[in-house]
């Protein structure tokens, strides 16, 4: 994807969450997307009349970009409902950058919504039946990540305590984020002693189940300079898939982030040590660990030791998932949009108590399915161009 895209040719200029947590009765996925779009346009000073590209994905809507266009009264030149689970939105950024570069649109909105908490999870996302997996009753997706954790623990000596450190760090960040769902501190012992979901992962190793949504506005670098907020330029993008079902993942300790991340770094002309803040899709504690390794922040197998002793918590050596992540901020089912939103806000310097000082570059990594689809976006402020 990234081969012919020009570094910094587009920027994210507007971001907004919809209602989060548990939304009002009867709110629809498209209601939440529309809240996000109106908010993100207000954030950058554009209006619906400026929008000529629409991207959307949702687990509860079969044709989300079409539904959103009807709701908002839009007839965009370009629209796209590409569905790759939680990585969809990083892929939308890459595809929107390409569409803008090709002249197919100029102002694109990227939207998401989910009411999985208020509607009840069983009502919102029926899983694909797989005759080679379903008879064994894995808890999808948790058991797939548990299998990956078991393999990492076996191969590298990673411990449940080290995984728990990731949940604790996420909680510490969440306590600095007024929008976070979780409001109370969390200890390693609480993570370890929580209800076991699929061994070795307890409910505190697993992402939240909330409602929520939001939107981003992406436009050309030229147009971005004329708008209200500091642009977060798209410096690099990368995408790959390694499998769909966990039984077809070649090596459970190595994700496609190693490939998508390398593509994004190459396009951006940056290395892991050049990145000021790291936002990765933390569906489970093991997910954060795998992505820190595969995106080059520590060597393969060292993730457990790397995250220990508060290294990724506030005040640690690397700022990771500063909004509190899917583990403690919100998780409506496809968290990738929120990963991007926090990366943008850090580059803008809007994060208040959790702001990483002097943040000029951010990596936003999305995960779809069961470590299946991987998409990476690197953002930067004007000084990183």
């Amino acid at each position: 994807m990234s081969a012919n895209l020009r570094r910094g040719s587009a920027a994210i200029v507007g971001v907004a969450e919809s209602d989060l947590g548990e939304v009002a009765a009867g709110m629809s996925v498209i209601d939440l997307m529309a809240q996000g779009v109106h908010g993100a346009l207000a954030d950058c000073g554009l209006t619906l009349a400026d929008v000529d590209g629409v991207f959307a994905a949702a687990g509860q809507s079969r044709m989300p970009s079409t539904a959103l266009c009807e709701y908002l009264g839009l007839k965009p030149r370009y629209h796209d409902s590409t569905m790759m689970g939680g990585s969809s939105f990083m892929t939308h950024v890459a595809h929107a950058q390409a569409a803008i570069a090709a002249g197919l649109c100029e102002v694109a909105v990227i939207a998401y919504g989910s009411t999985q908490r208020s509607a009840g999870r069983k009502n919102v996302a029926p899983r694909d039946y797989n005759p080679y997996e379903t008879p064994y009753r894995p808890l999808t997706p948790a058991s797939a990540y548990a299998l990956a954790a078991s393999r990492h623990m076996h191969q590298y000596g990673t411990t449940r305590e080290q995984l728990a450190q990731i949940a604790v760090a996420a909680r510490q960040w969440a306590l600095l984020n007024p929008a976070a769902w979780e409001k109370e501190p969390l200890s390693v012992a609480q993570v370890l002693n929580a209800r076991m979901v699929s061994h070795p992962l307890t409910v505190r190793d697993c992402c939240l189940v909330t409602d929520g949504g939001g939107a981003l506005v992406l436009t050309s670098a030229e147009r971005a300079k004329t708008l209200r907020k500091r642009p977060a330029y798209v410096l690099g993008v990368g995408e790959t898939i390694s499998h769909q079902n966990i039984s077809s993942m070649p090596d459970l300790t190595v994700t496609g982030a190693a490939t998508s991340g390398a593509q994004a770094y190459t396009m951006a002309g940056l290395k892991p040590q050049d990145i000021d803040v790291v936002q990765v899709y933390d569906a489970f504690t093991i997910t954060t660990l795998l992505f820190l390794e595969d995106l080059g922040f520590c060597p393969k197998g060292e993730g457990g030791r790397f995250v220990s002793e508060g290294a990724i918590a506030p005040g640690g050596k690397l700022a990771v998932n500063t909004n509190g992540g899917g583990l403690s901020y919100c998780h409506p089912g496809m968290f990738g949009l929120f990963v991007l939103m926090e990366a943008v806000r850090q580059v803008r310097g809007e994060c208040g108590a959790r702001q990483v000082q002097g943040c000029e570059t951010a990596i936003a990594h999305g995960n779809g399915g069961v470590l299946s689809s991987q998409s990476t976006v690197i953002l930067g402020g004007a000084s990183a161009l």
């Binding site: 005759p131 080679y132 997996e133 008879p135 064994y136 009753r137 894995p138 808890l139 058991s143 548990a146 299998l147 990956a148 078991s150 393999r151 076996h154 076991m196 979901v197 699929s198 061994h199 070795p200 079902n245 966990i246 039984s247 077809s248 459970l252």
Partner: protein, 134 residues
């Protein structure tokens, strides 16, 4: 327009899944191999990229090694295992190790296949026992 036979492939008489289940009904765990002898699982109608030529069916000797493992303890039900098994022929599948407590299944454990018979709407499927107790 008069003769569509040249661009209409012959209809498959049985799906890959039904052929796989027919092997299981005879007590055999089947997989596919390509012309270079490379093993493939799950069964498909044609070879994926990276495989050579036509696929043919083969049957496993039934021995494998636990590659990854987890267990789930539903409220009011016994715990059960979910594992990925690397078969000696070079393919991997999801399955369940039985005959020992679900939390005693270990990565690296040698296991042997057994067919769990069809029940109601569910077709037969392979499960495993540790080799030591099989």
């Amino acid at each position: 327009m008069t003769d569509s036979s040249s661009n209409t492939p012959a209809r498959l008489a049985a799906s890959p899944l039904e052929q796989y289940r027919a092997f299981l009904a005879r007590g055999e765990l089947a997989f596919q191999v390509d012309e270079a002898g490379r093993a493939l699982f799950y069964p498909r109608v044609a070879a994926p990229a990276g495989y050579r030529g036509e696929l043919r069916w083969a049957t496993s000797g039934g021995l494998g090694t636990v590659y990854a493992t987890t267990f789930i303890s539903p409220k009011g039900e016994p715990a059960y295992n979910v594992a990925l098994i690397d078969m000696d022929e070079g393919f991997r599948l999801m399955s369940r190790v039985e005959s020992i407590p679900a939390d005693q299944v270990r990565i690296g454990m040698r296991v042997k296949v057994r067919v769990h018979p069809a029940e109601g709407d569910e077709g037969p499927y392979p499960v495993f026992d540790p080799v030591e107790t099989a």
